[in-house]
Amino acid sequence: MAASAGAASRGLAKRLFRPPAGAWPAACQALARNFHFTVYGKKNASAKVSDSISTQYPVVDHEFDAVVVGAGGAGLRAAFGLSEAGFNTACVTKLFPTRSHTVAAQGGINAALGNMEEDNWRWHFYDTVKGSDWLGDQDAIHYMTEEAPAAVVELENYGMPFSRTEEGKIYQRAFGGQSLQFGKGGQAHRCCCVADRTGHSLLHTLYGRSLRYDTSYFVEYFALDLLMENGECRGVIALCIEDGSIHRLRAKNTVIATGGYGRTFFSCTSAHTSTGDGTAMVTRAGLPCQDLEFVQFHPTGSPRGVKMIKWVLLSLGEEKTRRDSLTRTVGHLVTPCLQGVGIFLVLLGVSSLTPPDFQQLKHSSLGCASPVFSLQIIWSGCFRNGCFYIEGILQRPVFQPATHVSFYIRGCGPEKDHVYLQLHHLPPQQLAMRLPGISETAMIFAGVDVTKEPIPVLPTVHYNMGGIPTNYKGQVITHVNGKDQVVPGLYACGEAASASVHGANRLGANSLLDLVVFGRACALSIAESCKPGEPVPSIKPNAGEESVANLDKLRFANGNIRTSELRLNMQKTMQSHAAVFRTGSVLQEGCEKLSHIYRDLDDLKTFDRGIVWNTDLVETLELQNLMLCAMQTIYGAEARKESRGAHAREDYKVRVDEYDFSKPIQGQQKRPFEEHWRKHTLSFVDVKTGKVTLRYRPVIDKTLNEEDCATVPPAIRSY
């Protein structure tokens, strides 16, 4: 099939490579952006390239059946899914595929395989809908959870080295938020993992598999913009970082899988390359982005900086000697990602505890072998005054019902902004077997030997639930006249997309599942709607001119503010104004500050004027992308006057739905669409002025097959 596709495209190439005489004007009219596009045809082969090389940008045109932007988990899956279906595919990525941020995922993949106990994907569906705080589109969640077992088996067939049980089946462990029997049957063991390096092995497996297919990889090409014409997406324009040439890849189908934008915040678990390039490209194309205000903060991430670590060790020493004289009790906690192994979070300085059980707990020596009970952290946040708030589920092993608890603790360190995660009470062999990745990460990033000392942790940005709005097939949609309308030729999957399976809060281990399921879904829907070898739609001869003008402007930028300074300002603003706990006045102040910072983008100064490996230029382009995402996040957060999932407002603590679900629905008046908040935010940005426009779109409640899997009606979310 691949051979015939190759022959078909070669035939196509023969028809297209020699343009009919007169089709190409020798030079286009000079346009408003001061660039004009020329092609040197065979006739004027002796035309010399002019001397002023610095103001000329060579552009290479390519034609493919499909282009995938991004080569992480979702991008690779989409790329080789398309190649498998016979499409001539290109994969444009600014990083080498195995360096994408998917490699850092630790948790696992949820799938109702039923290896540890009896399981049903409908229970997984229920858990995901509930976890998303009823903001997830139930048709997409139905699709994902039904496809999950098949997806995991497919990965296993590709050679992914899952952890195994004694019988040789895939080992599934417990993970936060997963239950049996629609929430009534206790903890479900549904998370298939590869020790604690699931993302790493997933990405390497997918990369290895993708080499079997003839996808053309454009590695270290930075995608600048989409080529849109008449509301259709016709390809991508990218900058080759290695030699500075511009490439326009025309294709009938474009898939965006560029990942999230964690780097808008000061402390985040994302790589330096998570800069929301895809979401920004879509915004610049005039299309909306969905639910960007929902940013998930992981309760236990590492703080930055080595200097702080030294301080931390000293103050631990102080606290240690005072520990015996502490009159307050110290509890033992278990974090969600390490649950089931017996990990403790050491609290130094507990100020108030809600459940009476805690009073009975005495902190004996740090070397206790088994947990007295476990607390599964589902929420954690740190206030400005150095106080930590932790919410979790207290669970004693076997036969006891889980209790929901919440308490405040004082942070440690000079800025009181972190707490400690203790692992050294566990036998070293168990640590090495079950948690090798975390041991290594703690050593490299925090300088801490986990077999001896606790690790400093604080809530950090971890995942972006929002992104490019798509339907369950992966097609990008806009909302026109009250209805969803598909944008032809554009697809999105992975963290960059919002399908929306995660809604207001993502359950752990669902994001890796989201990558593979929707990566494959994009490939399948493209295969359904087009055939390989179909003629590629044409573009204007000077398509992509604005992107090149922007590139040129940034390359010769000579203002006053460095890129790194502006980026730091933006990150600090976002961290202090749009963090875990949000308040109206603080958010409004943040919106003002960020708008001001956005205007400062015109005053940038770059230092490298070359075009070959110009990382200053690439970082500035990334800053532009981050800024667009940050604006939409904070304006969306300011406008949403309720608390739902990851968006927690101190001044509006309740969830505002169409009915008040804490009371029976009968007799209640349904609130009109404008007055409740169970809807998706669609944000548009006017790139020149930085003005954010917000519109709303209803949540899809109907599943794909009501008889097979009934809609879960909204209810109050409590665990």
Binding site: A13, W24, I53, V59, E545
Partner: protein, 122 residues
């Protein structure tokens, strides 16, 4: 590299031919005395590599519009690199090979340029 070679023999201007500059080396003007053919050093392996790359580029770029002037310009620009700067030359050869692969790829169609028409007011 042929341009570099020609520069070392003073008085011989670069020969402008579109195809196969290596031929320019062989077709030296005959009015030079016979011994001068032997005073000219042979191409080093690296120079041969560059020449072969140039030849391959020209052949591959013939079919697709817009590549030839660009190829020529790039090679001429880099011709002034000193012979001893092997690291740089090898890097450019490797880069050129990757670009050649891309040029040969059936999906690459044409090359154009965005040219700035008037300077921006700063």
């Amino acid at each position: 590299m042929v341009f570099c070679l020609l520069q070392t023999t003073a008085g011989v201007g670069p020969l402008h031919r579109e195809v196969g500059p290596c031929f320019a080396v062989v077709a030296l003007p005959d009015d030079l005395s016979g011994s001068s053919r032997y005073t000219m050093a042979r191409h080093s392996k690296l120079q041969k590599q560059v020449l072969s790359l140039y030849r391959q580029f020209l052949r591959a770029g013939k079919e697709k519009p817009g590549f030839l002037p660009r190829i020529q310009a790039e090679f001429r620009k880099n011709a002034s690199i000193p012979r001893m700067d092997v690291m740089h030359i090898e890097y450019l050869i490797r880069r050129g090979q990757r670009q050649l692969e891309q040029l040969r790829d059936v999906n690459t169609k044409q090359m154009g340029t965005f040219v700035k028409t008037k300077p921006e007011e700063r």
